[in-house]
């Protein structure tokens, strides 16, 4: 029986070449996008799951809350990990800390190979017990036991040693440590919340600190991971944390500190904390993409349904006859499902070809390394088969049920042959397609408007024309005053300063004790350690008091700058009133010397809050916190400035290569996810509209065919081309208008929800709704008019004779 189903399916497909083409094209694009989105999403969802113990690994998160100001830290103080293990031996199987001196880059040297490495970390010897990494050389059990040992990836081995044997080689770290390579591992899978190339032993850090690691419970630079025992309940452990904080953290801070557990596998999509090792993606982006993928299939499936039911008149006789000779309805339904599944199968084959063709571009676009071979895994093959079955059944459902319901008597009497014209169901489906398309157009407009808004929003400082040079632990940092004087002599350079984080993207928190707070307690406030001319370099305004003044030698140790929000947070009357207030820091008694305007020290996902700008005085502190040089230059002279800075750099710093970036680019990275999503949604929206338009074209063609005789008669009676186009188009235009009315409120609600993710958001522009409707209308009109135009061009003599 199947043989004859397939045979007649094939012949029908060939007979209806045009509609089959539309169906397969639409479906294959829909399926291809669905597969790509599926690959992307499974890749995103697979982060960190390759570790055998992934389900039991948690990261300890550290929250400092001082009346709403403070930090949500992804890292914890040094003692947390092993103290926890001692305190809760029944629940914790293993712990590991990962540490990088809070340095954005580390200089690594082997002979003439010198690189500033971003992916250099120190970790406890338990690292490879907690995380699974395949050793190519060396022993995972002992590789991190010794002082000054380091495990590197194959990539790093090639980079430094080429073809030479890496094991036993010495890498020089920050001109301070000689690290012996004790292991080489496979490169860290991309699907990791942090990618490292070097893991050196924590014993080396202990040795550097003179035999013991920092014992402070304040400084929290260690990403701390726990492996829970198999039957341990993470909630139970978390419930014990308040007692843990009480027992070990300093009295003055206890009430402001809380600890939480974060599942390892949640980090990549659900974690947006301070001091993340790498920026993470957001689960809402995944939901949005999944929705787009489903819409894509839905719209392609609707094309299928619409065209199949519309062209059903041509098949009603076949169904009637089959029923007369004894076919049950179920058999007819099965036949149609067979056909739609077969067609979907063709579309799937084509879709796989499309995926293969565009996967490289898709990878470049999304920064992924997805290989087509994943589709060959049994789970994927099963998923693809399921996809064919589901989309085949979904697209075949309406035609199958509708067509099989024909009563043989009616069919054979010819009652149904023209019945396909009205089709309320089809209209509903077209409206659905257009509603989705219009909603997506609006969503894309709003998303781009938000991205534009974030890029151009007033951050409270000027991010343009500032070059950032990492100088942590370099000779430039060591001789910064001389270096500053020297570069400021260049006519293209307006001013220079230093900071301990890239202003506008990240910051630390530091301990302060403002006037009116108890003497035994430190408060942690968002702060940057700055140098002279910070205010000038970043174009911040002083609204009360004054900036740091180089002529005033006590400024660094006695003076502090706060922003207006901090004035309000302190409950001080006004900026002027806060001048001279005590604002004690670890350096001693400092006083507020100036108040700045408010600014966004991190991304616009978060609101600008109270902030402190502070200078350090001791050489050690200055060296530690001088991480980036920031240079404001005269616009248009970037090249000269860069080559000038590079030449000065090379005179001061003999070992390290010169690196730079533009502040604007650094801040754009904060919105990478949104931009990626925006670009992807533009492409997918375009494709969705294309598929919907394709379906509309098919439907309009069918209607034009159906009405050949009517058009002929109208022409004989004197109708012009215009009036015929109007007749054919009018029906679709009405549908698009209905779709618009449905799409508007839905897309408004959706985008309003999406925008809630941002502390700073653009207002939804009502014009976008008009534009989207106009775009949909224009497309519908273009397609139906074109088709109607051709229909109107036929000679009525032919069409009437034919009839």
């Amino acid at each position: 029986m199947w043989k004859i189903y397939i045979k007649s399916a094939f012949r029908n497909i060939i007979k209806q070449k045009f509609y089959t083409f539309i169906n397969i094209t639409g479906l294959s694009i829909g399926i291809a996008c669905f597969i790509l989105i599926g690959l992307y999403i499974t890749d995103e969802l697979s982060y960190d799951k390759y570790h055998e113990k992934a389900g039991r690994i948690y990261r300890v998160v550290n929250v400092y809350d001082f009346n709403g100001v403070g930090e949500n830290s992804a890292s914890a103080p040094f003692p947390v990990a092993f103290t926890m293990k001692e305190e809760y031996p029944g629940m914790i199987e293993n712990v590991v800390r990962v540490f990088n001196f809070q340095a954005p880059r580390s200089l690594v040297v082997y002979k003439e190979h010198k690189f500033n490495e971003r992916n250099f970390f120190f970790a406890d010897s338990t690292f490879f017990e907690v995380f699974d990494h395949e050793f190519v050389e060396g022993d995972p059990e002992t590789a991190l036991n010794e002082i000054n040992s380091v495990v590197i990836t194959e990539k790093a081995a090639r980079k430094y040693f080429g073809e030479e044997e890496p094991l036993g080689k010495i890498l020089r770290f920050e001109s301070a440590l000689n690290l012996k390579v004790t292991g080489v591992i496979k490169d860290v899978p991309v699907q990791s919340h942090f990618n490292f190339d070097f893991i050196a032993s924590m014993a080396s850090v202990r040795n550097m600190y003179g035999g013991s690691l920092p014992r402070t419970w304040v400084w929290n630079p260690c990403w701390t991971y726990l492996v829970l025992k198999k039957k341990a309940d993470p909630e139970k452990l978390e419930a014990a944390f308040p007692d843990f904080v009480n027992k070990f953290f300093y009295d003055a801070e206890k009430e402001n500190i809380s600890l939480y557990l974060q599942p390892l596998t949640d980090i990549h999509l659900k974690s947006k904390l301070d001091y993340e090792i790498e920026p993470n993606n957001s689960i809402s982006n995944i939901y949005i993409l999944a929705a787009i993928g489903i819409f894509m299939l839905l719209i392609a499936g609707i094309n299928f349904m619409n065209l199949a039911t519309a062209t059903s008149s041509g098949r009603s006789r076949e169904i009637g006859i089959k029923k007369v000779v004894g076919a049950y309805r179920g058999q007819i339904i099965r036949q149609f499902f067979g056909e739609s599944i077969l067609l979907t199968f063709f579309a799937m084959v084509l879709a796989l070809l499309i995926v293969e063709l565009i996967l490289p571009a898709f990878n470049t676009f999304t920064g992924k390394e997805i290989s087509l071979s994943v589709l060959l895994q049994p789970a994927y093959i099963a998923a693809l088969i399921l996809l064919v079955l589901i989309s085949g059944i979904f697209s075949g459902f309406y035609p199958a049920v509708y067509l099989s319901s024909f009563r043989p008597v009616s069919v054979l009497k010819g009652k149904i042959s023209k019945g396909a014209k009205s089709g309320l169901g089809r209209k509903v489906l077209v409206v659905l397609q257009f509603a989705i398309s219009i909603a997506l157009i609006i969503a894309t407009f709003v998303a781009f408007d938000q991205i534009r808004y974030m890029r151009s929003a007033d951050l409270g400082f000027n991010k343009e024309h500032v070059i950032i040079v990492p100088i942590n632990r370099t000779a430039v940092a060591g001789q910064y005053p001389a270096f500053k004087r020297e570069i400021e002599n260049n006519a293209n350079i307006i001013s220079a300063t230093t900071v301990d984080d890239i202003f506008g993207s990240a910051h630390n928190t530091h301990e302060f004790r403002p006037e009116g707070f108890p003497e035994d307690k430190w408060n942690f406030y968002p702060a940057l350690v700055v140098a002279y001319d910070f205010v000038k370099t970043f174009g911040i305004k002083i609204i009360a008091g004054r900036d740091y003044n180089e002529a005033n030698k006590t400024d660094p140790v006695k003076g502090i700058l706060i922003n207006e929000a901090m004035v309000r947070h302190m409950g001080w009357e006004n900026p002027e009133a806060s001048l001279g207030k005590k604002f004690k820091s670890l350096q001693g008694d400092e006083r507020v010397i100036g108040v700045t305007n408010n600014f966004n020290a991190t991304s616009l996902h978060e609101a600008a809050g109270p902030f402190v700008l502070n200078m350090k005085e001791t050489p050690g502190a200055i060296m530690f916190f001088t991480k980036y040089l920031c240079v404001r230059y005269i616009p248009g002279n970037e090249k000269e400035v860069i080559s000038f800075l590079a030449s000065r750099w090379n005179e001061y710093e003999k070992e390290r290569p010169f690196e730079y970036s533009f502040l604007g680019d650094e801040l754009s990275k904060l919105y990478k996810d949104e931009e990626n999503l925006g670009r992807l949604s533009v492409i997918f929206t375009f494709l969705i509209i294309f598929i919907a338009a394709l379906g509309l074209f098919g439907l309009a063609s069918f209607m034009a065919e159906q009405r050949t005789k009517e058009i002929g008669i109208r022409k004989v009676l004197g109708a012009g081309v215009g009036s015929i186009i109007r007749i054919i188009s009018a029906e679709f235009i009405k549908l698009v208008i209905v779709a618009t009315i449905i799409a508007w409120p839905i897309s408004y609600l959706l985008m309003d929800t999406w925008l809630q993710d941002f502390a700073y958001r653009t207002s939804i522009n009502y014009l976008f709704f008009i534009y989207a409707a106009l775009i949909a209308l224009a497309i519908a009109m273009m397609i139906t008019s074109a088709r109607a135009y051709f229909a109107s061009q036929t000679n009525p003599v032919d069409t009437l004779k034919y009839e």
Partner: protein
């Protein structure tokens, strides 16, 4: 074979109620060849559809093979239909996408015959109606007479007890018409019951009995002589 008692069929639309059949009672014996005649719109085809279990009457009884079937569901009717009745239509009603062999094979597929039995049986009937040499052709490649022969072959293939023919020669020229009527006559000689709706006096001559319908009612039921009226 079949018997109707006061069979009525009423078609209703929003505004009009049309009585297509009005209390029709008649009987067809096994092995008979009955022609139903009457002017257009008198209810011939409606009657044939009900006899063929394609439709249910509005009221009255219909006994098919001694079973009352007027209230049967579509599924029950389909079952009876495929086992017992062959249809021949005026416009042939072949499926254009299937070739001659496949068209004829269709009823056997729905009856669940296996492939080799089907092949044998189809071959046999194609030879019987003298169209075996065209087995691989598609309907549109055949003349009207040839198409109707295929349709007859399809009606025969499941060896039905009853063949219902709805103006089987209506779309054919006279020589092809004779050919088809000859075929039906031959079948009848071999024991198949035939009920045929026709306008053609000449075709009706093949029948043993003529039932005349007018405005949905049987007005005359006669053997042969009626033709001459």
């Amino acid at each position: 074979m079949l018997r109707t008692e006061e069979l009525s069929k009423v078609f209703r639309t929003d505004e009009v109620e049309t009585t297509a059949l009005n209390k029709v009672s008649f009987e067809v014996q096994k092995g008979e060849f009955v022609a139903i005649m009457g002017p257009s719109g008198c209810g011939k085809s409606t009657l044939l559809n009900i006899l063929g279990l394609l439709d249910n009457p509005t009221s009255g009884n219909y006994y098919f093979l001694n079973n009352e079937v007027s209230g049967h569901s579509e599924k029950q009717r389909a079952k009876l239909r495929k086992q017992n009745i062959g249809f021949v239509f005026q416009n042939f009603n072949l499926i254009d996408e299937l070739n001659v062999f496949e068209n004829v094979e269709l009823p056997l597929i729905y009856l669940g015959f296996n492939a080799s039995d089907r092949k044998e049986r189809v071959q046999e009937v194609l030879e019987q109606v003298k169209i075996a040499h065209r087995a691989k052709h598609f309907p549109l490649q055949l003349s009207g007479g040839q198409q109707q022969r295929v349709a007859v072959a399809r009606a025969l293939v499941a060896k039905p007890h009853l063949i219902l023919a709805d103006e089987p020669t209506g779309n054919l020229d006279s020589s092809h018409g004779e050919e088809i009527m000859g075929l039906l006559d031959n079948l009848n000689q071999n024991g198949t019951t035939i009920v045929m709706v026709t306008h053609s006096v000449r075709d009706a001559e093949y029948a043993q009995r003529i039932v005349r319908l007018f405005d949905g009612e049987v007005i005359n039921e006669n053997i042969k002589e009626a033709v001459a009226v």
